[in-house]
Symmetry: C2
Subunit: 368 residues, 2 copies
């Protein structure tokens, strides 16, 4: 958990906007020994951040080496442009989750394109929760760094060091590349989850009742923060629409194949299309890296039946700890209306037999 | 885990087809003290089931009270019709996962519609794995019972008792109703997951690399058994195509809204459509029952940072056990390339503070 040393992040850093992300970044920088300046249009918010130890308020004489703009997305371009004028030497960066529009607009508003480098710290789902700022919010997270073609190398390096100082892992790509990537891996899944969940609104309760784990997994992110996601999707409409068109095309092809199979349109290649769609899904899923970069299929799944009472999971994990086996993942399967559960444990293949033996020794009901 | 008594499941039960489900049902019935007969076209499979203690081979003089047909879906109708002729008094049921087609075809092939009652034991995802038959495979699972309008009440009751004897929970609905339900809660999620995952096939590895938990959850079931799912979808094409049409329509509306927002078509109600789609997703997701039938939003989420080394999860769950708090759900969030994890614990709201205190006492890094 200890973050790497800041590695030459010299001078003070100004954080503009002391909301959840801004204050968390400031706390992480303070933890790394960086001198942090804070500013916010809201005095109360600023004082809360200051009292949390996130830094000291910006004074007119201050000359930060780096300015991080962590204001709401719709204000980011303007604030970047203003910071460029106020601090004519500083590296300028932001934390918005869609990059192309905000950077282009900042430059058009007068931000110096040689000092501007975009950033997207990927804090994960807890960001939308009510949790307060934390110094460790970005520990072990990816922080996408998106330089402009005009960005000076020293400014790009400064943003890399900033990410590292916050405990995150910098990953560099172009702004357009970033937006295409998040359209595919983040924005598209959100839309599919929302649209799937919306189908349940008018469904018979008895139909919803027989839902299994698949529907639960597929609709989890539908329980999202609507204003936040509206803003995100609004900032990336083109790339998301492009991915969506591809998905809609495949779904239409699948629907046509199913209609053929239902006999309502002329018989054709229905079954082979369905098989093709499923096969492509298997191939695509295998491209997602596992927890340590390993392919997910590299893990062995071992299922255990656990009684749903206090202490049973403790007993299970104590047995796993005794076996000195490290879990790569856990899933608990839900069974409607009954106090018991199937727990799926994922381990590296070489640890599988050892774990099974240990669980059996402890009297667990194992389904290897 | 102890199943209820068979409650009057009198006489012998014949299981036709000793694959995973058939043998598991047979073992569960044996566990409940029922006299079980076995038959399979494959002598080797039959002998394996017999040696596992699943029952004794059917003899010409046997007169089972109930016949459960657990053969591959494409043979089920024929086998039901044959069983109807061979055993003119027996209750006839099956275990296929789509009901209307198989039952209608069985009747058209001569199965007695007064003695035929469909069934769908919902064994969950582990069924597609390589795991062998287990007496407890259906413990605590739902078993959908689908009578025909012509089914005699004593035969419907016999299938309910059969499900109960196997440790499962019978839920009764019409065959058409069942097929509509599974199209929505099971078959549609499978198609969406497969099509989403397929979009990753040609994606830049750097793009896939920044995927978070949302994409992982949404593509988990894409790693499916292709022949099994081809058969399932092929057996329910109409209802699945109907749900798919609704989803495609909503996705097209969303894509159009995004295109409007991207400025490539005339400005319109883009942002409000996107907000509407997200809002409907939140409402739909709330309709899914929680583990004990409670709404998912009824749980409090408490996140903990756990070091990725043997024993840490054991320490966490020991602390939870000490607090006498029962977990409703657990999720482990993955972070690319780093050995540490955020564990999300879900508990009933009244247990939240107690758990937070207990975890803090044990030195855990809690993000309530």
């Amino acid at each position: 958990m200890t973050p790497p040393a800041p590695d030459g992040l010299d001078g003070t850093v100004l954080v503009v906007g002391t909301g959840l992300i801004g204050t968390s970044v400031a706390l992480a920088l303070r933890r790394a020994g960086v001198d942090v300046l804070l500013s916010d249009v809201d005095d109360v918010t600023l004082r809360v951040a200051q009292e949390a130890g996130a830094g000291r308020p910006l004074q007119p004489a201050d000359r930060p080496a780096v300015v991080i703009v962590a204001v709401p997305p719709r204000h980011a371009s303007q604030v970047l442009a203003a910071a460029s004028r106020d601090f004519p030497e500083a590296t300028l960066t932001d934390v918005t989750s869609v990059k192309q529009g905000v950077l282009a607009e900042a430059v058009s508003l007068g931000a110096d394109p040689t000092r501007l480098v975009g950033g997207h710290p990927m804090a994960g789902r807890e960001v939308s929760g009510a949790a307060g700022a934390r110094a460790d919010l970005l520990d072990d997270r990816l922080w996408v760094v998106t330089p402009l073609p005009s960005s000076g190398i020293e400014h790009v390096r400064a943003v890399h060091r900033l990410a590292t100082a916050c405990g995150a892992y910098p990953v560099e790509m172009g702004a357009a590349d970033h937006d295409t990537a998040v359209a595919l891996v983040s924005h598209m899944p959100q839309i599919l989850s929302s649209v799937l969940a919306a189908q349940l609104i008018d469904a018979d309760p008895d139909h919803v009742r027989i839902a299994g784990q698949g529907l639960r997994d597929m609709t989890r992110i539908a329980a999202s923060n609507v204003p936040m996601w509206s803003d995100i999707l609004s900032a990336n409409p083109g790339p998301v629409a492009d991915v969506l068109d591809g998905v809609v095309g495949e779904l239409q092809r699948t629907a046509l194949a199913l209609r053929e199979m239902a006999g309502t349109v002329g018989r054709g290649d229905g079954p082979s299309v369905v098989t093709e769609v499923l096969t492509a899904g298997v191939a695509g899923q295998q491209r997602i890296p596992g927890k340590h970069g390993a392919a997910p299929s590299a893990y062995r799944e071992i299922s255990v039946i656990v009684a749903d009472k206090p202490g049973e999971l403790a007993r299970l994990f104590a047995a796993i700890g005794d076996a000195e086996v490290n879990l790569e993942d856990i899933r608990i399967e839900h069974v409607f209306g009954r106090p018991s559960g199937l727990v799926a444990l994922f381990v590296r293949p070489e640890a599988g037999e050892r774990l099974i033996d240990a669980l059996a020794t402890h009297g667990f009901d194992v389904r290897a």
